[in-house]
């Protein structure tokens, strides 16, 4: 069994190549609303396709590429996902998305954003 697993892994790894895939973010609340420091926030991402959320994962990435799994739920509109972010210190962050679209494509994307100090956001 281990050999079969290794064989499949080998085969898959050999033929890996593309980056762009089907499900992409078409609208992000990060583009219009800044994240306030030290306050839990919700981020809304809209994808170009329906999303199977039970089969998807979203990580918050902080400096040093430290990853933390975050909660996400489906929004009111089709293709919309609402992400719960914890209170964040000012700095650079990213959302690392592993999204399983309804057409069966697994898509990975990175959405980078900044959390500015409170004095700046005010």
């Amino acid at each position: 069994m281990k050999k079969i697993h290794l064989l499949i892994t080998f085969f898959l790894v050999v033929f890996s190549s593309q980056i762009l895939s089907h499900a992409v973010v078409t609208h992000s609340s990060l583009d219009v609303t800044e994240i306030k420091a030290n306050q839990p926030t919700q981020v809304r991402l809209t994808f170009n396709s329906r999303v199977e959320l039970d089969l998807s994962q979203i990580f918050l990435v902080s400096r040093g590429d430290k990853m933390q799994l975050v909660n996400a739920s489906l929004g009111q509109n089709p293709g919309q996902v609402v992400i719960d972010l914890p209170a964040l210190q000012p700095g650079e962050y990213a959302l690392k998305l592993s999204i399983f679209a309804a057409d069966g494509h697994l898509s990975e994307d990175i959405v980078r954003f900044h959390v500015l100090p409170e004095t700046v956001t005010k």
Partner: protein
């Protein structure tokens, strides 16, 4: 993981589409071209059972590839989520439609195997087989790009399904025509059937091309809403390549039609026997590559969804601009120093050394290929017969790539050979590509040295070239910004197209008689020259 998923989707998707075409196209061939129930005096059991056999093999293969696709998805999700994806996966349309498609493909294959093959002259059984293919076609509609769209879902699914059926009518018939040719070569059918069936296929071929265009154009207009989207996105770029391939395939179809027409008009048999079969083989190679490109297209986001990531036509043109090739490489230390920042998710810092390292590798490879292609052109002059050993350049290129492809690994870097090869997908991919290039050189040099006229060695070169083209058509770079990835992809895609031309030209050079074989050979090496030029001027965007 996504890179693995996409390429596997494209690869298995291409295999799946090829077998789908063999099945559905085979049924359409039987129903509209053969019409066995009309009791044509030239038909025999060998012809009809072979036709049904192809349909049966295609249907079983569709079922197997569909199940494999589902298993692959389960494996990928387990690896990505680090948990078993059920029961959530069982509730997806992908899983349900996939299972239904596989089941009905088995039913169709079984019917062709156990019933149709014993009643090949019956209109009733052919009709049943066509009806049994409908659930396969409908289930396929739930697995296309349009199924996940938020707008015009039903329309896009319908158009995509009809597009697939139209393509199947053409490609599936080509499979059948080649089967007829092989039966004729083995004297298992009446020789008159060869021109007769080619002639009878023409109207269906034309209708299928019209249907491909009639369904494909609205889909394209729905997914691409600007000229920039057509030229400056991965989706538009692959569609453009599909159009080029369609034109090449249509060119072969036109030449074949002309030759069949000439046969019935003047009785000229030479081209029909000595050229048309090989043109058809090449047409099939182009069409299968087209199907793989179509599968690859399905994993690209439509241009209409990524207006902010679209490159302008000036940026695309700039990637092909002539420039002095980079002949000096940055130091190994400079490259390694920039790697940590380049691959970081947060706080990413573009690495000039990495870009320069890559440019140097591509440009030097381009010089290799350009020089090889010039020697290849020279070899057509009998005065310079020694130049026919130009493929030795592939051996040298393989050695160059071995040392340069992955700077952080053995022999240049600190990571050991086995550790790097089996722990890093990109390194493994490069190692295999390097080995392929090296072996291509070895095999082709051996093929040119052999004195055996029946040697199959010469055919290794076009087959490997076609495979290389297929890889390039689905090639891009993990870890890049999307627009950067596209600007790199556009050059690789064009090289993939030229690799296909290289393969087709060489195949025809090996199969045809003079003077056409020399023309085909020259086209082949000219395609190699073009690949060399693209690589020689290659410049990676800073990322």
């Amino acid at each position: 993981m996504e890179g693995i998923a996409d390429f596997m989707d494209a690869l298995i998707g291409g295999v799946d589409l090829s077998f789908y075409c063999m099945t559905i196209g085979g049924l359409l061939w039987g129903f509209f071209v053969l019409k066995p129930w009309e009791h044509h005096p030239l038909y025999n059991d060998a012809l009809l059972t072979t036709s049904v056999k192809l349909i049966r093999i295609g249907a079983y293969a569709v079922a197997i590839t569909q199940v494999f696709k589902i298993i692959l998805k389960i494996w990928l999700m387990t690896a990505t989520l680090e948990r078993w994806p059920f029961p959530a996966f069982a509730e997806t349309v992908q899983f349900q439609a996939g299972i239904v498609r596989a089941l009905f493909a088995v039913v169709l294959g079984y019917y062709a195997h156990k019933t149709l093959s014993y009643n090949t002259h019956s209109h009733y059984y052919w009709t049943n087989a066509v009806l049994l293919s409908l659930p396969v076609i409908i289930a396929s509609a739930w697995l296309v790009h349009g199924a996940s769209r938020l707008d015009n879902r039903l329309l896009l699914m319908t158009l995509a399904s009809l597009h697939q059926v139209a393509a199947a009518a053409w490609v599936g018939s080509i499979f059948q025509i080649l089967a007829v040719w092989h039966l004729k070569q083995k004297n298992k059918i009446n020789a008159e059937l060869w021109p007769a069936l080619l002639w009878r296929f023409s109207p269906m071929g034309m209708i299928s091309v019209l249907a491909i265009l009639a369904t494909g154009i609205p889909i394209a207009l729905n997914y691409i809403d600007s000229w920039n989207g057509f030229i400056g996105t991965g989706y538009g770029n692959l569609l453009l390549v599909k159009i080029f391939m369609l034109i090449i395939a249509l060119g072969f179809a036109y030449v074949n039609h002309r030759n069949v027409h000439a046969f019935f008009l003047n009785g000229r048999n030479h081209n029909l026997e000595c050229r048309v079969p090989y043109y058809i083989e090449t047409e099939l190679l182009v069409l299968i590559t087209l199907l793989f490109t179509a599968a690859s297209l399905a994993s690209q986001p439509p241009a209409v969804d990524i207006p902010t990531l679209t490159a302008s036509w000036q940026e695309v043109l700039h990637t092909f601009a002539p420039r002095i090739p980079r002949l000096q490489s940055p130091s190994h230390e400079a490259l390694l120093a920039g790697e940590a920042g380049r691959v970081a998710i947060v706080g990413q810092i573009p690495s000039e050394a990495a870009t320069a390292w890559s440019d140097y590798n591509h440009n030097i490879s381009g010089i290799f290929l350009t020089v090889m292609s010039l020697f290849a052109m020279l070899s057509y002059n009998t005065k310079y017969a020694w130049a026919k050993y130009w493929p030795v350049g592939f051996i040298l290129l393989g050695i160059f790539l071995f040392f340069r492809s992955d700077a952080e690994t053995w022999p240049l870097g600190p990571i050991g050979f086995w550790e790097s090869t089996f722990n890093n997908g990109e390194v493994l991919q490069h190692r295999i590509a390097t080995l392929l290039v090296f072996m291509l050189g070895v095999m082709e040099v051996k093929a040119r040295m052999t004195t055996d006229p029946n040697s199959k060695l010469p055919y290794v070169f076009p087959v490997l070239s076609a495979f290389g083209g297929l890889m390039l058509l689905a090639h891009s770079h993990v870890g890049f910004q999307p627009k950067t990835a596209f600007l790199i992809q556009v050059g690789h895609t064009l090289m993939g197209l030229f690799a296909l031309i290289l393969a087709c030209g060489r195949w025809l050079e090996l199969k045809l008689d003079s003077p056409v074989k020399e023309w085909a050979g020259f086209v082949s090496v000219f395609a190699l020259f073009q690949i060399g030029i693209i690589l020689m001027f290659y410049q990676e965007p800073l990322y």
